[in-house]
Symmetry: C2
Subunit: 246 residues, 2 copies
DNA sequence: CCCCGACAAAATGTGCACATTCTCTGGATT
DNA sequence: AATCCAGAGAATGTGCACATTTTGTCGGGG
């Protein structure tokens, strides 16, 4: 009975994390078309792991609201409504208003120096025309603000919102324009330096409304629907079989 | 070889939800001492289900930050530091400041009427001396505020914070005092009615700081550590075996 | 007397096989 | 001709057995 072969001892403790990050990234940067089905068996083949492991990762992603899981019907890449996306931006805006008010008592030269340094980075990226870096740094600016408050809970909540809003940027945001105008970030910092909270809050709200209004009404063309292609850098070549002409 | 008995076909679709709710409640209302180990096998016995089902529920609770899961070491009832609890209250306070500002444009007679009705309920509970209802209604007041904004994301975030802060109330909150002074809630509503946002925000902040300062430094006596006893209403009697004199 | 290493027991993690549910296709009936 | 039902195929859900890791204990050495 125990004709059991030794079985590959690849119980990497960080494999789960890698798969989780890979799927989260693919969903967030738009490599996978909204509505694409994430079949457990396909993903298990692509990543070369057992189905149970994929299953666990998928459920975790579902709990994080990064993908959508329907009982007995599997996981799908979510297809958020424009209204839902605006709701996330609005939540971010409301939260940041509170953050700015809470930040005032903790605002010192060190924090302002860090913000100035970050603004310099943002301007450099904008001048280089590096859109990818601009998007990343633009988000990091808001994280810098909330981190300065020194409350881990707040940082975690805002980080979550930010990661989910960045999902849709690639779909709903017109590529021709830069995401966050650096000047708007700079204006917020100046208001903070002058300890004018009301103005900082107003600038922040205006900033977010600016971003919200720029969102396109209809989603852009679907990027890709082939799972294997989306995860190519992570998939061993041999596991990418000829896909069925479904 | 297939001497497999039919096996109880109890694949209730709502069993998971019931177990999840039971454990969440037990953790949140303090039936289980902070630090208590939640062994999968014990819980499986108590609830009369397979270990895998408990496992899934436990991991979900961990993702929701209601319990603490350490890889290869199992799940425990979290033992938050006073600092962590204050951080949650602070996050709630910062968030509510933003909520109050966002609420102003949406504030109409209907919302004010709902708030007034709620205040009446709170006062009634306080006069009855019904502490349990007071705690519940006090939390519901803040939910009412955020729900009035009409943003599902904000409501979800605040609901999560509230459920986690209510965990610790039973541990760190002195039982002799009422949780939220109804008058403080009433004052916030009055400030809103006068459309004086600055005052409403200040009152709200003062209110939360009031609650934070009342927290006891040292946790109270541990209520219970016996899993079977904590889940008694959910556990079939026969599964409650004589506990090992560990 | 204290500390360290190894062994044993128990708890968690994982893969596999089976059960259940859903989807899709093909055909018969109204 | 359109609709509905039935059956096959495929995908998800679940329990079980085994592997791995951790923890508590005992014995020997410093």
């Amino acid at each position: 009975m125990p004709s059991r072969q030794p079985r590959a001892p690849k119980a990497d403790p960080e494999t789960d994390e890698a798969i989780h990050a890979a799927i989260a990234r693919a969903v967030m940067d738009g490599s996978l078309r909204a509505g694409t089905k994430l079949a457990e068996h396909r993903l298990a083949e692509i990543f070369g792991v057992s189905r149970e492991r994929i299953r666990k990762v998928l459920h975790r992603l579902g709990a994080e609201r990064r993908i959508e899981i329907i009982p007995n019907r599997g996981a799908r890449v979510p297809q958020p409504t424009l209204a839902e996306i605006r709701a996330i931006y609005e939540a971010h805006r409301v939260l940041e208003a509170g953050v700015l008010m809470a930040l005032l008592p903790r605002l010192d030269d060190a924090v302002l120096a860090r913000l100035d340094a970050h603004l310099a980075e943002e301007r450099a990226a904008a001048e280089r025309g590096d859109r990818s870096a601009s998007v990343r740094l633009s988000g990091a600016f808001h994280l810098l603000l909330v981190d300065a408050v020194g409350n881990a809970e707040l940082s975690r909540i805002l980080r979550d919102l930010l990661s989910r809003s960045s999902v849709m940027v690639s779909v709903y945001e017109p590529a021709s324009q830069s995401i966050c105008a650096v000047d708007e970030h700079g204006a917020i910092v100046e208001a903070l330096r002058a300890r004018d909270v009301a103005r900082a809050v107003a600038l922040s709200a205006h900033h977010f409304q600016h971003v919200e209004q720029r969102l396109r009404v209809d989603p852009g063309p679907a990027p890709a629907t082939d799972l294997a292609a989306a995860f190519r850098p992570y998939a061993p070549a041999k596991t990418v079989r000829a896909r069925r002409g479904r």
